[in-house]
């Protein structure tokens, strides 16, 4: 079999991505017509909440791919080298989705409606001592500055790390050059990590998501959000590995690599559950009204089904189906589980966002699914485009050979 160095976007692939994007756009339009253009503020908030949930979720997921790369760089992991162009390509969707997400967030903050972010209502805040107290953090200026800065930094640092990786394609490097190359990578990856820990691991989920329930707080929230999106990111990478393998690319990536990706999906699903449990149990146990209020609509209210259903598919699914070694080495199971995990965590985000503006009834999820399809199409489009631009296998990366002979 001749080795194809670059991914060629097939007609089917681009057709699918366009179809999905069209579905997305149509869903947005439909949702806008039915709700977004409504006179009622709560109807409008349903429209914006859906956009918020989808754009934030998918932005964090594609950014998690870059997080994965940086972790492997810092941990000197060699095994992922043979397919590292995939997470790179996925992370190249950060700028576009970031802009979309940023625009949506700013539109919600400055749009004049307050059903999602109560703290944007300056009149109301004046009479709400708690929100007034928080206004040092929850205010439009800080929100804007920090959001724009965050997305910009993810974009720039991601781009730098990708371009470092592409610089290996020129030709073989010796040991000394290789060491320098790794050193340079380490510095940029560490920088990304610092930014990542100051954004995804702390402030960003507070600002973007937790402030929907502006009175409520949980210190775990950001790490929980991180776990959710990281495991989805791993699932997305696994999906692409399987897809490209099926198309005959990635000749040096095999079951061994898939096995390790499976382990990540398994391990971090359990990790997510651990954080889920810790947050839920502690609030349940101490039973303070100011904290339990968050779980009221989710556990006792209308979101009960969504809440526990997402726990089942995000925990029990991977736990039982991915435990066996053979399951992690099976392309079919991995595909199935990856789709399940991404859907499950998307659903988790659904129950994180919607109970805020719509406490008493679960919005019709079909619209949201349609918009999600649009984002999937967009990620496919952007990832495919980047994949087709550069070599799929970083042949001259210092750890490439280790990756080829990798076995679990």
């Amino acid at each position: 079999m001749s080795i194809r160095e670059k991914f060629e976007i097939t007609k089917k692939y681009s057709l699918l991505s366009y179809v999905l994007m069209t579905i997305g756009v149509l869903s947005v339009l439909l949702l806008y017509i039915n709700y977004g253009s409504s006179e009622d503020e709560h109807d409008r908030s349903r429209f914006w909440a859906s956009l918020l949930q989808n754009s934030v979720f998918f932005l964090l997921v594609v950014n998690a791919a870059m997080f994965f790369i940086c972790t492997t760089i810092l941990a000197w992991g060699g095994w992922a080298t043979s397919f590292r162009r995939i997470p790179e390509a996925i992370s190249s969707a950060v700028p576009v989705i970031g802009i979309i997400c940023g625009a949506i967030l700013l539109a919600i903050v400055f749009g004049g409606d307050h059903a999602i972010y109560h703290w944007t209502d300056t009149e109301h805040v004046k009479h709400d001592p708690i929100l007034l107290h928080k206004s040092g953090f929850l205010n439009k200026t800080f929100f804007t500055v920090w959001t724009v800065l965050t997305i910009f930094l993810w974009w720039v640092l991601g781009k730098k790390i990708r371009s470092l990786s592409h610089s290996t394609d020129i030709g073989p490097m010796g040991v000394e050059v290789g060491k320098k190359f790794i050193w340079k990578n380490t510095i940029w990856a560490a920088l990304f990590m610092i930014v990542f820990s100051l954004t995804v691991m702390s402030t960003i989920p507070w600002l973007w998501l937790m402030s929907i329930d502006a009175h409520w707080y949980s210190t775990m929230y950001s790490w929980y959000t991180f776990a959710s999106t990281f495991v989805s990111g791993m699932a997305l990478i696994a999906l692409y590995v399987v897809y490209l393998k099926n198309k005959g690319y990635l000749e040096y990536t095999n079951q061994e690599h898939l096995h390790d990706l499976g382990k990540f999906m398994f391990g971090f699903s359990v990790f997510w559950t651990y954080l889920w449990f810790s947050q839920y149990m502690l609030i349940w146990y101490s039973n303070q009204p100011e904290e339990t209020i968050y779980f009221q609509p989710r556990v006792n209210g209308v979101y009960k089904i969504v809440f526990f259903f997402s726990l089942i598919i995000n925990f029990l699914g991977p736990l039982l189906l991915l435990m066996k070694r053979d399951a992690k080495r099976n392309y079919m199971t991995i595909t199935l589980l990856a789709v399940l995990i991404i859907f499950g965590h998307w659903l988790d985000f659904f129950q994180m966002v919607h109970p805020g503006p719509s406490r008493d009834h679960v919005p019709m999820i079909l619209y949201d699914l349609g918009i999600a399809a649009g984002f999937v199409g967009l990620i496919m489009f952007l990832t495919g485009r980047t994949l087709s631009k550069h070599a799929l296998v970083p042949k001259y990366h210092p750890f490439f050979k280790e990756s080829v002979i990798h076995h679990t």
Binding site: V175, T219, S278, L282, S286, K395
Partner: protein, 484 residues
């Protein structure tokens, strides 16, 4: 199946001195087979002295009751629980190295895992003493077990985090011991088969359980290690999580926060690595194992220290931020007044914690610092102090001022028996560690041999050929070794 032993030349070798298998056995068995040095005897005697002091202190407490300690009405938990959490945290690094790094396939763990696991076991032994003797009537300890008793039968309270601790720590101790010992079996067999003296043959004959090195046994052993690692990973998380639940399930300001579980785990690993550094920097020097526990190992562990230290830092800041953001006056008083305010009675302890745990490890961004043994040793002590203060801050600064200012405590200083108890656990820990270095191989023999042909410097030099080989040729030669 590929027989190719290759690793990128970019990676530094993990075993130095151009070793062959036999040489590895010789080097690692030497400290066990030769007479202990003077330094060993001195260290061992000091440890024993500390242990004896501890025994006396505990005896005082058992005879005269918890009143021998300076705990008071609101500070019901003081040094005892601080020390408990501190020791249990120390233990976590051993499991991290042996289990989690095994799953992540970090080759460098082979040099340090055996000693780190031993450290885990001894640390858990020390930790266990504190809640046990804190009970006061220690002879009633069996009350904490769920057994059909004469009181009703009234069962233990399964909803209580303190009972979860009983289960978590006993399970952790048992599983760590099993993991450690099953890994030791092949190495004990090596010692047995080399033994010249009668008592050695007897001792290692018994302890090696009749291990032969049969392929089938190795196959099961590998599978066992992997599953035990898989079990230990969530276990080690659960143990410090449950310890954190002791605090976080309550409604005490400064204790009740949802980030406690993962933050305690990160802190535990952080302090544990510091202790591993303290021990190994000395051990490698005294036992002459510098070629196995190389400067690369030290550097990598320093990287883990800065990583976990920074995670802990993020958690501190998160907590601090939420104490303000949460708009709960009691919560923010606990942080802003009892901790942050340097002029409050215990403000100093918060800043020692911040300085030692978050700020000082930042010097490890520089690789020169990471590779400096003296700095490493100094830093490891500093981090241990810092992590002790973290627990002290969490416990004491949250409880010394009750909701009612009328029940604010007077300043709490430990009594001599409290200090003696703590020093005594050091005695216990180091006595065990000294005995371990004398009678057991400090470095995992079989595991070093396993990575020798990939990471030994002599073998790495021979890999130059492969390193120079073009990627395409390399792939042609070796990639067909794989399935799929």
């Amino acid at each position: 199946m590929s027989l190719l032993r290759y690793e990128s030349q970019v990676r530094p070798p993990l075993v130095k001195g151009n070793k062959e298998y036999h040489q590895v056995t010789e080097d690692i068995c030497r400290p066990v087979e030769s007479k202990p040095s003077r330094a060993w005897w001195i260290g061992f005697s000091i440890s024993l002295a500390f242990l004896l002091f501890g025994v006396v202190s505990v005896t005082m407490e058992v005879i005269y009751g918890v009143g021998q300690w300076n705990l008071n009405k609101t500070i019901g938990w003081g040094w005892d629980i601080t020390n408990f959490v501190w020791w249990i945290g120390i233990g976590h690094a051993g499991t991290l190295i042996s289990a989690i790094l095994l799953l992540f396939r970090q080759g460098w763990r082979t040099g340090v895992n055996r000693a780190a696991e031993a450290m885990t076991i001894f640390a858990v032994m020390c930790a266990g003493q504190f809640p046990i003797f804190h009970m006061g009537r220690v002879w009633d300890i069996f009350f904490s077990l769920p057994y059909p008793n004469t009181r009703g039968p009234l069962w233990v309270n399964f909803n209580s985090p303190l009972l979860w601790d009983v289960f978590a720590i006993s399970t952790y101790f048992t599983v760590s011991l099993l993991f450690w010992y099953s890994g030791l079996l092949p190495d004990l067999a090596s010692l047995r088969d080399r033994a010249k003296k009668k008592w050695r043959k007897l001792f290692y004959g018994i302890t090696a359980f009749g291990w032969t090195g049969s392929t089938k046994h190795w196959q099961r052993h590998e599978s066992l290690s992997l599953v035990l690692a898989g079990l230990s990973t969530p276990l080690v998380l659960s143990v410090h999580t449950i310890v954190s639940f002791d605090f976080a399930t309550s409604v005490i300001p400064g204790w009740h926060t949802t980030i406690f579980p993962p933050y305690f785990v990160a802190g535990a690993i952080f302090s544990g690595f510091a202790m591993v550094q303290t021990l190994l920097v000395i051990t490698r020097k005294v036992l002459g194992l510098e070629q196995y526990i190389t400067i690369e190992h030290i550097e990598v562990m320093n990287k883990v220290i800065i990583l976990t230290g920074s995670i802990v830092g993020i958690a501190y800041l998160t907590e601090l931020f939420m104490s303000w953001y949460g708009a709960n006056q009691y919560e923010s008083f606990a942080f802003m007044e009892n901790r942050l305010n340097l002029n409050s009675p215990y403000g100093w302890s918060y800043w020692i914690m911040m300085g030692c745990n978050v700020l000082s490890p930042q010097i490890f961004w520089s690789s020169k610092m990471r590779r400096n043994i003296t700095i490493t040793f100094f830093m490891s002590i500093l981090v241990n102090i810092g992590m002790w203060f973290e627990r002290f801050v969490i416990i004491v600064t949250s409880v010394y001022r009750d909701y009612l200012p009328s029940s604010w405590s007077t300043y709490y200083t430990p009594s001599i028996w409290e200090i003696g108890f703590y020093l005594g656990t050091f005695g216990l820990f180091f006595t065990c560690y000294f005995l371990f270095t004398k009678y057991f191989p400090v470095v995992a023999l079989a595991e070093i041999k396993h990575i020798l042909k990939r990471s030994g410097d002599g073998y790495k030099n021979k890999m130059n050929e492969i390193e120079k080989q073009g990627s395409d040729d390399f792939v042609k030669e070796h990639s067909h070794d794989h399935g799929a």
